[in-house]
């Protein structure tokens, strides 16, 4: 039996259980339509303005950084799997097996160091940094 059938079956169960709970709830729950209770919650006040607000640009920076590092972890996975086998097979020396990975990580570390030093992973800026930023053309 192909095991991905079982994974697919679990996916189906994972959707059916929430749907089942929703339908049970649909049968049980009352419905009292009244517009005022559908207002969004803003600490009990009448909601002001839209909700599509501007948020901190840092969320975007972090997401970009994530894309870089996530792809890099994907590329490291196969290496980690074959590393020990490759060494035990005796066909490659330690340096040949380890070197490329170290180089790869080193390049990434340069990237991280750059992002770090340029404040990409820094949430808030100190007044001095703000001043420096303001002076840039």
């Amino acid at each position: 039996m192909n095991e991905w059938i079982a994974i697919g079956a679990l996916a189906l169960v994972g959707i059916l259980i929430p749907l089942g709970m929703m339908s049970v709830s649909y049968l049980l729950r009352p419905s009292v339509p009244e517009t005022s209770k559908r207002a969004t919650y803003e600490s009990g006040e009448v909601p002001t303005g839209g909700t599509r607000i501007r948020f901190n640009i840092q969320y975007y920076m972090v997401a970009l950084l994530f894309v870089v590092f996530d792809i890099e972890t994907v590329l490291l996975f196969p290496w980690a799997v074959v590393y020990r086998d490759a060494l035990e097979s005796g066909e490659v020396t330690l340096m040949q097996a380890l070197g490329p990975m170290l180089l790869f990580v080193a390049i990434l570390v340069v990237g991280l160091a750059w992002a770090w030093r340029n404040g990409a992973v820094q949430w808030a800026k100190s007044p001095r940094q703000v001043e420096l930023e303001a002076n840039r053309p």
Partner: protein
């Protein structure tokens, strides 16, 4: 004589690796000293890296790396990358343009805030272009293409507060994304038809793809679309005038010379290696015909559009489209009736000469932007009186671009012409001559403005920024000097081409 140190085979990629390393060094520099405005150090590192790459590539060519009869070509990583003469030839083009642009940027980005980022992005883009020269599999072609494109988008838009620059970056990015999608879809179709990504393997398995000739044909057309984008030829040339006009002029020089050359090298290699003409003709896909049409349309559109421009930078951008059309003859002429190596070699020579004259021309625009004289032909009136040396250099570039005899541009065009006639493409040859004649009109218009016309407004005296001058004079000298030195260049190019085409 026994070599002192036997280099490992992957060191054949050294010209590319040096560029990548320089990019990383610049990142490290910026990490240690963020927001550094030490322009001398940054431009110095960048130029030194590009020159080192250039030196190694030239050394390899001279030492016979890639020459099948001497040190042999280097197939690396299971044939994913290949270092042959053609790869080295284009690595030279990329490195030399990068070096010139780096020097020129020293003055151009005087007040700019993101110095280190600028240089490292440029070096990374150059790495991508250099890798494109060596890419020998559709996967590496695509990765190298993206590595060259992604930094380019940022570079075009690097003048963050300049609306034109940001708009150009966005347009460039959108068309780039579109054509990348088309290109990668083409790759998937070719892979589907043949089952291979590696170029030689594709060529060997074309017979098996006869049942899928429609699929393969569509894939080939889509690949052409991807190349057309990178080389700024029809039908994906729209971005070129916008991006070149909006981008900072050194970047326009970089993109229109190095990036275009890199686009051509992958086109040459993919079509010459993976889709041999005879085999493809048996299947019923005659791609040379597509390139014949593209070459004619591209050079005509480029030149006609250039002739109507009032803005000098935009004129050069369209002329760059026209030159892409000339270089496409290299592929159109691979019909097998003429001498394939001569016509492909001629296109390679043209791209090398173009690397000097076009970079120089755009750097002159950079100089004009540095002075702040304006953008149109009238604004350039009478510049020769105040800056005779730069204007003389610009005159050389213009006449060389038009293909006037004493300069390098003439010879490469002459080879292209003979190659086209040899291949029996009389229509293309006629189009080449007519377009060159037309181009003389708008190139000489600028020369006339520089030397003959009187200035519209009085200008203050103009400074002489060292970096820009060095780059421009160097480009001008090379454009002239390449003529006596054309023998070895032509030999190298034709030899390199002969190694690629059967």
């Amino acid at each position: 004589m026994a070599p002192l140190i036997e280099l490992h085979s992957w060191s054949a990629l050294a010209p590319t690796l040096i560029l990548a390393l320089t990019g990383l060094v610049l990142f490290v520099f910026d990490s240690i000293d963020p927001r550094s405005t030490n322009r001398s150090a940054l431009a110095g590192i960048s130029t030194a890296g590009a020159l080192a790459s250039l030196g190694v590539a030239v050394w390899y060519i001279v030492a016979g790396v890639g020459d099948p009869t001497r040190r042999g070509t280097f197939d690396l990583f299971g044939g994913q990358l290949i270092v042959d003469q053609m790869a080295l030839f284009f690595m030279v083009v990329v490195a030399v343009v990068t070096a010139m642009v780096s020097i020129a940027s020293y003055d151009y980005f005087l007040e700019h805030a993101y110095q280190a980022e600028y240089y490292s992005l440029m070096l990374l883009a150059a790495t991508g272009m250099s890798t494109m020269a060596a890419a020998n599999s559709l996967v590496t072609v695509f990765i190298a293409l993206e590595l060259a494109s992604l930094p380019s988008f940022a570079l075009v838009a690097i003048l963050k507060t300049n609306r034109g620059s940001v708009e150009a970056g966005l347009k460039y990015f959108l068309i780039g994304a579109l054509s990348s999608a088309i290109f990668v879809y083409g790759i998937s179709l070719v892979y589907g038809a043949t089952g291979y990504m590696q170029l030689e393997a594709i060529a060997q398995n074309l017979e098996g793809a006869e049942g899928f000739s429609g699929l393969l044909g569509l894939g080939v057309v889509m690949l052409i679309g991807g190349f057309a984008y990178k080389t700024a030829s029809v039908p994906f040339h729209f971005w070129a005038p916008e991006a070149y006009e909006g981008a900072p002029a050194p970047i326009s020089a970089f993109l229109s010379s190095a990036s275009k050359a890199a686009g051509f090298v992958i086109a040459f290699r993919v079509f010459a290696t993976a889709f041999p003409i005879e085999t493809m003709a048996d299947i019923g896909i005659d791609w040379t015909l597509a390139f014949v049409i593209l070459a004619i349309v591209t050079m005509t559109i480029g030149n006609f559009a250039a002739a109507t421009q009032e803005n000098v930078k935009r004129m050069l951008a369209y002329s760059s489209v026209g030159h892409a059309g000339y270089a496409l003859i290299g592929l159109a002429g691979l019909t097998g009736t003429g001498s394939n190596d001569v016509v492909l070699g001629a296109a390679m020579m043209h791209l090398l000469v173009y690397g000097f004259m076009n970079t120089g021309a755009f750097l002159f625009i950079a100089l004009a932007e540095y002075w702040g004289v304006g953008r149109t032909f009238e604004d350039y009136n009478g510049l020769a009186k105040q800056a005779p040396m730069a204007s003389a250099a610009m005159t050389i570039f213009m006449f060389s671009l038009a293909g006037i005899p004493p300069f390098g541009g003439f010879f490469s065009k002459y080879f292209l012409l003979t190659g086209a006639i040899d291949a029996g493409l009389l229509v293309v040859a006629v189009a080449l001559v007519v377009n060159s004649a037309l181009s003389l009109y708008y190139y000489s218009r600028l020369v006339k403005a520089l030397w003959i016309e009187e200035p519209v407004v009085e200008r203050d005296s103009l400074t002489q920024p060292t970096g820009l001058y060095v780059a421009i004079i160097f480009a001008a000298v090379m454009t002239v000097v390449i003529l006596p030195g054309f023998g070895p260049v032509a030999d190298t190019a034709i030899e390199a081409a002969a190694a690629v085409v059967p």
